[in-house]
Structure formats: C-alpha cells, structure tokens
Symmetry: C2
Subunit: 517 residues, 2 copies
C-alpha cells in the first residue's frame, strides 16, 4: 500500500475531476499531481532525503493536502504541527524527530520565526501564503514554479509516513509513528465498515494536523472524491460550503453539530446534498440527535472512536444505531470494531475479561502505530503483548458494541484535544506560590470536558485565577490552560499517600453514567 497510489489513479482515471476546493482555488487531479511532483522535487532540492521528516504549521488548505502528498511522493515523512501548542511545545516536537524543513502559512508566519530561534533541528522555513515572503523564508509557489517534477519515490507498506505528536503522560509530547499501511488501511477499513454515499464530496473543517481530519481526507482521496477545505470550523462557512459544493459528507464534533443547527441562518441554506455526518471525540446525546435529524432528514450519523496511536478509528457506531426508535443506551456506545481492528478488554494484568467486565480497552491490528518516536520504553509499555493500550476503560457487550466508561490515563479530552493532566500540573507547579496541585476534567456543555485546577497554596501565600492562567499561557497551549481554579487546604490522599483524583472529580460528575465526555 502506498499513500500516493490514489494520485496515480486520479491522474489516470479522472484527470479533469476536481480533487481540491479551497477558497477560490479548484484543483483537478492532473493539476494536483503536477504540483505534488514539483513540491517533491523542491523538497529534495531543499535537502529532504528518503525517510526525512518535514513539518507543517498551518490551517486546512489545498496546500496542506499538497504538502502531505508532496512529502510522500518525494519519499519523506510528514510531521504536521498542532498549531494550538505553545512555541515551546512545538519546538520540542520538531527537535524530537529532527524536522529540518517547516512549511508555514500566513496564520503562523510570525510564530515560525520564534520557532527557528528555539529549535535546534529547524533549518529551512517555507512560506505558504500569497503575501510578501517574510525575511529568511522561501516562497512555496516560487519553489513549485522552479522545481523539476520528481518521480514518485514509491515508498509504501511498512515505510514510515507520518510522525504525529500527542500530549504525553510524563508531560512531554510523544511522536506517534504511522506507516503507509496503517494510514491507508485505517481509511479503507472505515469505508468498508460503514457504507458511504457515492460521489464523495468531503468537507474538511476538522484540522488536518489531527489524525481525525487526516483520516477523512484520505477516505475522500481513496475514492477519488473532492475535498472541500475550510481553514477552521465556522457555522456560516460550513453551511455555505455544503450548499455551494454539494458536500456529501463531513466530520464534526457534537458541539459543532449543535452550533450548526442552532445558527439563526441555518434555514437559509440548501443542505440536501449532505448524506453523512461522522462525529467523534464525544458521544451525541439523544436530544441533540433528534434535533439534528429533524433539521437534516437526509443525513446519516456515524460515530468514530479511536486515537492517534491507532491511525484514527477502531470502532464505528453505525447509522442504524442513530435512527428514530433505536435504543438510546446504544448512543452512549463507541460502536462496533471496524474490520481491521481487534478490541480486547483486559484487567491490569492484561488478562482478557469476561464479556461485560470493565477494564482497559486494548487494540490489535495493522493500523496500530509502529511506536513512539525515540521512546522505546513508552512504546514497549503502550504496546505490551502486541496490543495497544488505549488508556480508556470500558466494556464490550454480547453483540460486540464497545462502551467507554472512564479514562485510565490521567487525560482530559476537551473539544477533541487530548490534554494530559501532568502537562498542566507541571506548568502550575512552577509558580512559587503553589505547594501542590491537581488537574482534572470536568463536564462542559460546549467542549465535552474542560480543564479544572485544584491548588494548595504555600503557607501565607496568595494567588489569583488570572495569575495562574497567565503563567500557564506562557508555557503551554491555550486549550490546555485551566478554565477554573479552586483553592484547597489539602489534596485527598490515600492511606498510601497516593492522590485520589476520583474524589476531586466526583462532585462534578454526579448523576452521569460515565466519567468521560
């Protein structure tokens, strides 16, 4: 399997069909292949050799897609940057996997110069925008114009295709290594698991630097469909794009679906082309589903469950579970394992539990990551016994449906982003006023969960919420910073002196059947 194969097919089978739509740009497959092969040539000119990582810091655009295929076509490995991270975090992730070339768009060109100062590995910045080329950067379009088109390096199978960084339990981001086979198979397996509407026109508003956005992009590409790229989610832009491009499918999180259908201009648009709405990061509640189905009666809903370490998705809750009269309890399920993934629920000794028993959700199959970049111990721990340990606790029912009930890893999921408590606690603990702190996720209607900090002050010291927040902002991504701070005299500890976070969480989650959102 080669991720570049669909480009060869597109060029051969439908060269004049539209592959990408972004703002005023429309690229047919023939033009996309031309630009991708030139980008590959340019990257080689800039020193990219087989297996080298190339970074991207940008919002969704046609150039983001070109970047992925250009790097692959040239034999390299993509390393898309989470643009929400702090410069310190981004610099760590670039250096960790030795990324020498970074592409940046207009939204991040200032940050990029700061990054070059912080990063040891970074040597070349390529400017993706159409404005004046910033000092010290090369122009993307100029490079494409002067480069010779390269031949496809024909890497594939077990060759590395991507290093995608996620937060780390130890506070340091971890680079998840995904191969051509794992990314390709993840996309193919999802298409095989749940029937998609024909004539794919996919709307990409979920960020492509996340494996979820990347997976949707690949799924459209595998069918030689059209990808419509929005820089980020916005209600009106989404409604306009669906109407104008006759979009057939998209991926959103439930809170975005809610914002969309409650928007005052929702009724002004023709959304009759939309046939499938994939959602993830959180379950959909039955009230919202009923409301969404009334608003968009032609749309099938499908939930995707997974994580970066499994190339995106290992279970899908199919449209048949989202129809009127279906079991509302089923809506809390993460779905059925996809064809390529085995799911096993194990206890803390990795013994399989009987059906219905709650334990850690583990995954086996060819879409599981090759490992964490340069972190053999964490890799061995995560993949022990040949199974990926997700850190989610849950159970499987008699009919194969998987339910997530809690998180074993100390992690918060807010607006689809994973936040490791340790990262936030490390930041807060650096304040001289803080004696101890604990960070937990609490339910939030808009974001699923939000970050909440419990702080114990040193004797005689004082601190404001604003000061905590400002301090965190200087170190970590904004979305990781606490939304609320609570001051206590002490933290609840077990007899063995171990922090009992569940006692901190309990009051926030009362009356709910799960401890994750």
């Amino acid at each position: 399997m080669r991720l570049t194969q669909p480009l060869h097919k597109g060029l051969s089978e439908r060269p004049q069909a539209t592959a990408l739509v972004c703002g005023g740009e429309r690229l047919a497959f023939a033009r996309l292949v031309e630009r991708v092969s030139r980008l590959a040539g340019a990257l080689r000119m800039l020193g990219m050799r087989a297996g080298d990582r190339v970074g991207m810091m940008g919002l969704n655009s046609h150039r983001f897609v070109e970047y992925c295929y250009g790097v692959w076509w040239g034999g390299g490995v993509i390393n898309p940057v989470n643009v929400r991270w702090s410069p310190q975090e981004v610099a760590y992730s670039l250096d960790d996997c030795d990324t020498g070339i970074l592409l940046v768009d207009d939204a991040f060109k200032k940050l990029a110069l700061d990054l070059r100062a912080r990063s040891r590995s970074l040597r070349t910045l390529v400017y993706l925008g159409d404005g004046e080329v910033p000092e010290g950067m090369s122009s993307y379009e100029a490079l494409l114009a002067c480069a010779e088109p390269a031949d496809d390096a024909m890497r594939g199978g077990g060759d590395l295709a991507a290093v995608m960084y996620t937060g780390g339990t130890t506070g340091l981001p971890k680079g998840v290594m995904l191969t051509h086979t794992s990314l390709y198979l993840n996309a193919l397996s999802q298409l095989a698991a749940v029937a998609r509407p024909p004539g794919a026109v996919g709307l990409l508003s979920a960020p492509m630097f996340h494996v979820g956005g990347m997976a949707l992009s690949l799924q459209v590409m595998l069918r030689l469909g059209t990808q419509v790229l929005l820089p980020a989610f916005d209600e009106v832009a989404t409604l306009e794009a669906i109407q104008a491009e006759r979009v057939t499918e998209t991926f959103l999180v439930p809170t975005m679906i809610k914002r969309l259908i409650e928007h005052p201009r929702f009724g002004d648009y023709d959304l009759s082309s939309l046939r499938m709405m994939i959602y993830g990061a959180a379950p959909i509640d039955s009230t919202l589903l009923a409301q969404a189905m009334r608003a968009m009666p032609n749309v099938q809903f499908c939930q995707a469950y997974g994580m970066t370490e499994v190339s995106s998705t290992v279970a899908l809750l199919p449209p048949a579970c989202h129809v009127p009269g279906s079991d509302p309890a089923r809506l809390r399920s993460a779905g059925l394992p996809v064809p390529i993934a085995e799911i096993r629920i194990v206890d803390s000794e990795d013994r399989e539990l009987p059906r219905g028993g709650v334990g850690e959700i583990t995954v086996r199959g060819p879409t599981v990551m090759a490992g964490y970049w340069n972190k053999p111990e964490q890799t061995a721990q995560a993949l022990r016994g040949g199974w990926m340990h997700t850190g989610d606790s849950g159970y499987m029912d008699d009919t194969g449906f998987v339910y997530v009930v809690d998180r074993i890893k100390d992690m918060i999921v807010s607006g689809g982003e994973n936040i490791y408590s340790a990262e936030v606690e490390n930041a807060i603990s650096q304040l001289p006023e803080v004696s101890a702190c604990a960070v937990i996720g609490v339910p939030d209607d808009a974001w699923g969960e939000r970050v909440h900090a419990v702080v114990v002050l040193r004797a005689g010291m004082a601190l404001t919420d604003e000061a905590v927040l400002a301090h965190c902002r200087s170190l970590i991504a904004g979305y990781k910073c606490p939304r609320s701070v609570e001051y206590r005299a002490e933290l609840p500890l077990s007899a063995a002196g171990k922090l009992q976070k569940f006692k901190l969480r309990e009051p926030f989650w009362q009356g709910r059947d799960r401890r994750v959102n």
Copy 2:
C-alpha cells in the same frame, strides 16, 4: 493483515452469531473457531508445517470454509482443486506445488483414489463426508474429535496464503500465488468501493475453489456476517436459501440470473431480503437487467471484473450504472477500478496509450499475485515492469470506466471458467487423424462463450465429432472439450505463416461490438 483475524474478532465480538449455514448445519463463530483450531492441530499432526500446501477437492460446504481457516490457522497454504479438471490435470497441479495432504468430499472420493495413484506428492487423504470412511483415508470428523486445538500460527502480510491453479497458455496449469495481504485487501477494497447492505448474509453458490467464490466468502467473513453455502448453483435451492436465511447478497453469472428469474417457481418465494447481486464473468445485457429489476425491485446490481492473478477483482461496475434510464453502453463496461488497483492500458511495447486507445489492460497494486508457482519465466513475463498483464484488450474512457473489447491471450471464457486454446489444441492434436487444428471461442447464450474446434484431417483420414470429444474427455476437463467441430482443408495463415484465428472467429461474432462475452 491476517486472514484469520476475523475469526478472533468473531469469537470476541459475536461468539453466538451464526457464521456458517450448510444444509442442516449452523455454526456459530465460537464453534467455528473451535473446529478451525482443532483442524489446525490435526493438520499439524498429519505433518503440515508452516508454508506447506494442503489441497481440497470438494463442493461448497461449511467444511470448505473450515478447511481454508484451519490451514491458515495452522500456518499452511490452501490449494483448492478445480473439481472440473481431469484427474491428469489435478495430479499435475498437486505435484507442481508439492501438496501432500488432500481433503475430499463425497462427490470426489472415488476420483481421489485414482489421484493418489497418479500423483507423486500426495501422501494423505482426508475424507470430509459423513458416510463410511473409504479405505486408506482418514475421517475429517474423527481427526477433529481427537486433535488438540492449536494456537493461531499468526502468519499474515506477505506470507503465502493460497496457490490457485488456472489454465496455462502453454497447455500446463499455472499455480497463482496469493498472499494474506492480497486476498484480505481484495475483499476489503471491494467492500470500500461499493456500499453493501448492513447485516451481511451472503449466499455462496459460486464454487469456492475459484477466486470469485473465495472473495465473496472473505467479504462476508470480514463483516462477521453469515455465509450460506450451497454445493452448487441450482435455481430452487437458491430461491429456498434466500427466503429461509434472509440472504442479503450473492454472486452469480448473468446466465444464472436468467435461469433464476425465468424459473416457473420464482414467484413462490419471498426474496425481499436480497439487496445486492454481484455478477461477473460476462456483462449483463440491458434486456435481462430490466427483466431482473422488475422481478427483484429491491436488488442492486454490481459487476465485478478481474482474474485469479489479481486476487479476484480490480474493477466494479456500481449499482448506479444499473438503474433505469442509465446509459446502456455503460452496461458493457467492466466498471471503475477499485481503490486498491491501478489500471493502465498499454501497447505491445508497454507504453501507456492515450485515453480511449485500445491496448492490453494491465494492473498494479497490492492485490496482484506474488507470481506463478515454480514458473519464474512466465511470472516475469506476466508481471513485467511491475504491472500484471491481464491478456485482455480494452480501453479506459475519460471518466475512468474500463471496457474490455477482446482477449490478447488465446483464451476462451465459458461459464466463468478460463480455457486456454492451447490446452484443447494439445489434446486434439494427439489424435493420429489430425494434421492441424485451431480452437476458438464462439458466442453462446447460456455460457457466454463455448469451445469450437477447427480441424484439418490428414490425407485419406476421417473423424467424427464424437471421437474428438471422447478423446478430449480422456485428457482434459469436460468444460474444456469442444462443443462443436468443423472440418476444413486448411487453416488461414498470414504471409509469415502465422495462424490467423481472427479469420476463424469473425463469422461467429458479426454484429457484436466486442469479441468476448
């Protein structure tokens, strides 16, 4: 990718769901896995080591499916025998790939004893039936009862999974080597290409020793669906099975569809569960399609195009091309390439032709065979430049649809079976009365094409059709024997002395837009 993975999933996700239905037998996944792991243990007891070939000569049954998974589970390679072949051909195929163990059912137990006398490699015969165990054979059920269940050998990826024999251009059958990856991906890719109905209940009446039947079986297994096995196609048995088991999809050739809907008892059955009819081997004509759609209004039709050397299917003509009002010319197309396959039309020098140009259809991708067993020269020739040369000539239109117009290899396709003219010509030429002969395919309403022989007799000799047929029957499979014989004074030769078969074919194909059926 491992072909045994769905069994692990079935055991975990739906242990009590029905995996196989055959006559009065119903096997849940848990029981299937139990029997498969015992069969693997038994085969190891009989001497099967990793990578060894194990043969099967039988009609479709639950035991045929157990055989495939039992061999794979034990680390072996399946070698399903084409039961229509003559003992001489079967013995050649067994010896060629050194098959030591052969499973045989009641239909072929007599033939098997004859085979043991002819074959050098065969040492163990296992009797699959429920009757008295023939002398010199082991009983399948007794072996399962006494064997220890084996652990899955966990072979997969590029490991060999099957050697499947097809006729050869040189007159000798060729063993097509297919890996776990190629068979798995072929099934997954077909599911991804054309949306299937949920809740898969597949009816297998196409023979599983063919890659087409094998592929449907895998497609149902990948979804953990139910396989309903019929020993062979029969109108009433098919209608009864669809009604009784609520079958959702099946695979037939157009002539079987015709026989089904024209059967006097067709109207007596409830076929409302049937949602998809895949057909292959020949295009469907618009009259038959219209008739079939009236008879089965809920059914979507889909054509599959491929060959053993590509693990079954590289193009699908989707249901959207089979609806009332769709372009009748499209119905003559072999369809659109599936996601995993690239198709390129080349001239005799392997240069790609411009769109619309007629040349050889070649295929690239991970479902292409690993090669022909023990035939490096034929492998190199078939796979030259990394592309499988199908031997079909055709073109691709501007929208990616592939059309087959003729056959480059001197091959006849009758009732879905490939027949190489050379095999038949070799047989006929052994008659002392024959001076020269040529074998061609001519159109046939029931079988697509049928075998027609043109014979030049030696001076003063005479021969009857019956004598030709009886002689052929003693050497080659019945379906390869000529259905009609024509006697001529000479064969049409070019100035260079090369046989001009097209001149022999021409009168039979007048008024048709293709030279294949």
